[in-house]
Subunit: 546 residues, 2 copies
């Protein structure tokens, strides 16, 4: 069976693939899958070696309480009896994604018993110094942790660890010895790093401040690591294409690698694998054949897919693709609008899906959803305009107007100058940000809302770089250039100060151990949605680079 | 690099391969390695499936305290949610050697997190129900235990566990789940069993008693499992060619598979890889390229290699090979004789090597070594005679006579009728047996010695089937047909009564937990040196089959 037949068979078996009668994309899906496959960029492979033997040091001032200090050179291991060494930790100097290989060497006699080695890979020091077990029963899967135990029945050869790894550090421990009088070394380590990103196509202004440059570079590395055969959310966890991450990665890609084939591939994958009524699944998984993560819908993500399609058209002028996929954009809008009530308010009580806006316990997303819906209407109308298909969406301008007015009426409190969300009139940065981005508030009102919220006790702050992105975007929409820059320098710069090589999935400046998953080693320390300083710094050079 | 170049480079690097000047096999070794390679028999592969889902039951009457009871059919697992099952144990119905594969199946949605499964393979029930850890620091290697943990990053495909397995039972445990709402089954299991043995070429007499037939069949299975690309000692542990095991396997092979290519290959491997002075290493390891287990010499094994060469010649008439290897036989005799003192006694105090005769703490091997040396002289002289090369070993008959007389004088106590070994005049079955086999005692004296020793309090009994083989052989040399048969029925039949599918490396009828390694799960439960009932039953049909 070839890949295509396999895909169809697999989807048919698992998904009970849509009957053509009700499928708005009938007759299109197979072609879209082929287009996605044809657009897949090649992986660039590079071979890297460890740069230091390191030792873990407990340090309350270090990020999550641990740091590594160099204690030797990897070359020193070539003749070291691993039986005496028992354990060693290596630093590869920066974050890499790919495949780990090692070589063993007989030092005396031969191998009497098979040798067992345990490899624990980590993106950050604490990940290798926090016991994983016993594992909480309701946690995410234990196997996200990158510890692999390998039995060697022979020496003097290369062994490759089968799973793909995302890491900077690896700890190697001997779990089974080769017997008394039999000595061996683990004498070589090679990592085959991979990414589809390619070379950076842009540059910063010569006078760009060093701190901004550093934040930019860490953002670029983050994006590079996440650019695999799809835009992954995090190469350690959870290694898949989410619309929300893709949207932000594509923004950063415009200003760095400019690898638009990858964007095209991802847009098409979502479309081809949509639900039978045309609604997009939020994540897509590539292996063993591309398939959606069944049952996972995120309405705000589906709406942002439309924005990503417009951005793609703007970047590439590829009207053929945009035209091809425009019907998908219309379906997402129609689906979103079905939850808008007669007042013109997006009614979250109808529970259309998981309404992910940010990771923060108790965040009320009513106001944010109003903003996302209006923003998507605006961008989708712009897309129609560029394709000369305004007539198909002639009702959008009136809807934008109605929802904007409803937003001002029901969600904006003129007196306090704040957007209030939900039955408890919650103040959150997400609410202020999204009604700003959607243009519900004037620029002046937006700036006031954001500033007031920042000073409001109990205001729900962003929990992730994903949420923080929209806050900074909102500041930049509201003429708050200095505050936006300060926020970037403080928030993303804070990660750099704490030693980040790549930006993290979750970051609370006040709590290094914060985790949306109840266990900080599960956090992804290289996460796509945190790469957007690349976009801000390039898009607003006057704000950031001078 | 081809295999040969690799071998030479490897040996040169590790062994500091013999300088031609002192090497008695100069110019021969590479050709011998090639001959060994050319004689390698093909592996016969068969695909097998589990026959039952089983449950472990603690039972003090069962071997080592555990047995399995069937509780279901493997087909029932095809749709079973492994997340709910969590663990399952399968019985493959008999012992197999080869490679284990399994297939997974998505039951609902897809895979959210990688899945981690732990497979523990065991030859006997107690092996899967005895905790391995914490592992004693001075034990043999932990990785002999066949537990392997596999991380799956995708489902709906076949996965093969890399290491070769020897087992009948496998326990599968879920160590990392795929996430709430994501369900999967482990829906197929396949084992690719391998052996070079081929088909049995012999048959028992129609009237052969059932008990003898059963013992015979278990012996054949034991041999089949150990016949890989060399005669292995045990396919679980330690997976290599030892001279002592080869000698007994070749005896059983004469009366069953008659696959003499394997014998030829093994004889040549030992010769090609001998020490620089021509002395044979006791074990040879095939991977990554054939090499000896450096530093491990066993003089009685080296001497038995000569006997195996004679047997090979008798079975095949391959005088070319025997002629080719005869110089090696002479070197082993010369090496052995260098430890014989002027009285004609093999002097163990000279500590020529590890003098392995049997696993029994405190066993004195002085008398046994006298027997092995004489036996090897006899058989090597017979070999020379058949090759027409008696002149080269013209001194052997006189040496045999001298050592026989010395044995009678210094080791045999006419009064008690016992062979006494070492400074403490130890009585052991090994001493009686070896001086019997060597013909130092008359048949009548032998029978008396064996019977008396069996009734002597404190007599050191055999610790293994290896030692027991020589005792039964001695009985058969001494006209003790009934006792020999009773011993086989009692000893090997005892293993059958305790559920053996294959005969064990170590067996003490009075102590199921006996282990030469301080931990009974380390014992090999399918061990070549215990397969010799096949030889006895066929060679002496009048004793065993009627």
């Amino acid at each position: 069976m070839n890949a295509k037949t396999l895909t169809i068979a697999f989807l048919a078996a698992i998904l009970a693939f849509p009957a053509a009668a009700q499928d708005p994309y009938a007759g299109k899906r197979e072609g879209w899958l082929q287009t996605a496959e044809a657009a897949k960029p090649a992986l660039h492979l590079t071979t890297v070696k460890p740069v230091a033997i390191v030792q873990a040091v407990r340090d309350e001032h270090a990020f999550q309480g641990w740091k590594y200090e160099p204690v030797g050179k990897p070359e020193d291991l070539k003749e070291r009896n691993f039986k005496e060494l028992e354990t060693v930790t290596l630093d590869f100097g920066k974050h890499f994604v790919g495949y780990f290989s090692f070589h063993t060497k007989t030092l005396s006699r031969c191998l009497d018993a098979p040798v067992r080695l345990k490899f624990t890979f980590g993106e950050v020091p604490a990940e290798l110094n926090t016991p994983f077990d016993p594992w909480g029963k309701d946690r995410l899967g234990r196997a996200w942790m990158q510890d692999e135990t390998i039995t060697l029945t022979r020496l003097d050869e290369w062994v490759r660890i089968p799973r793909r790894i995302a890491f900077r550090y690896v700890k190697i421990e001997m779990m089974g010895w080769p017997g008394a009088g039999y000595d061996f070394a683990v004498d070589d380590f090679t990592f085959t790093a991979q990414s589809t990103a390619g070379e950076v196509q842009t540059s910063l202004e010569p006078g760009c401040p060093e701190r901004i440059r550093k934040i930019h570079d860490v953002g670029v590395e983050t994006l590079r690591e996440c650019m695999q055969t799809v835009y992954e959310d995090g190469p350690k966890r959870d290694q898949r294409l989410w619309i929300g991450d893709m949207y932000l990665e594509a923004l950063a890609n415009r200003y760095s690698f400019r690898n638009f084939d990858l964007t095209k591939r991802c847009l098409y994958l979502f479309a081809a694998l949509a639900r039978e009524d045309g609604v997009l699944f939020a994540p897509v998984i590539e292996d063993p054949v591309p398939h959606p993560q069944y049952g996972t819908y995120i309405t705000p993500y589906a709406l942002l897919w439309n924005v990503a399609l417009l951005d793609y058209l703007e970047d590439t002028g590829d009207t053929a693709a945009a035209d091809d996929l425009f019907p998908v954009a219309k379906v997402q809008i129609a689906e979103g609008l079905s939850f808008v009530d007669e007042r013109g308010i997006f009614d979250v009580a109808k529970k259309p899906s998981w309404l992910f806006i940010d990771h923060r316990a108790g965040l009320d997303v009513s106001a944010s959803m109003q903003g996302v819906m209006i923003f998507a209407l605006q961008k989708t109308y712009e897309l129609a305009r560029r394709l000369g298909r305004e007539k198909e969406v002639a009702q959008y301008p009136a809807l934008i107007k109605k929802m904007t007015q409803a937003g001002r009426k029901y969600l904006y409190d003129k007196k306090s100058g704040l957007v209030l969300s939900g039955p408890d009139a919650q103040v959150s940065m997400m609410s202020q940000s999204w009604l700003t981005i959607a243009g519900v508030l004037t620029s002046k009102e937006s700036a006031r809302a954001i500033r007031t919220a920042l000073q409001t006790e109990g205001c729900v702050m962003p929990g992730t770089p994903y949420g923080t992105h929209y806050l900074v975007e909102a500041m930049l929409c509201s003429g708050m250039a200095d505050e936006a820059r300060a926020y970037v320098e403080d928030y993303w710069g804070g990660m750099v100060d704490k030693g980040a090589d790549t930006f993290w999935e979750a970051y609370d400046p006040t709590d290094d151990l914060y985790s949306p998953y109840g266990f900080h080693p599960l956090n992804s320390a290289c996460h796509a949605w945190s790469c957007t300083p690349v976009y801000f710094i390039h898009k607003y050079p006057e704000v950031f680079q001078r």
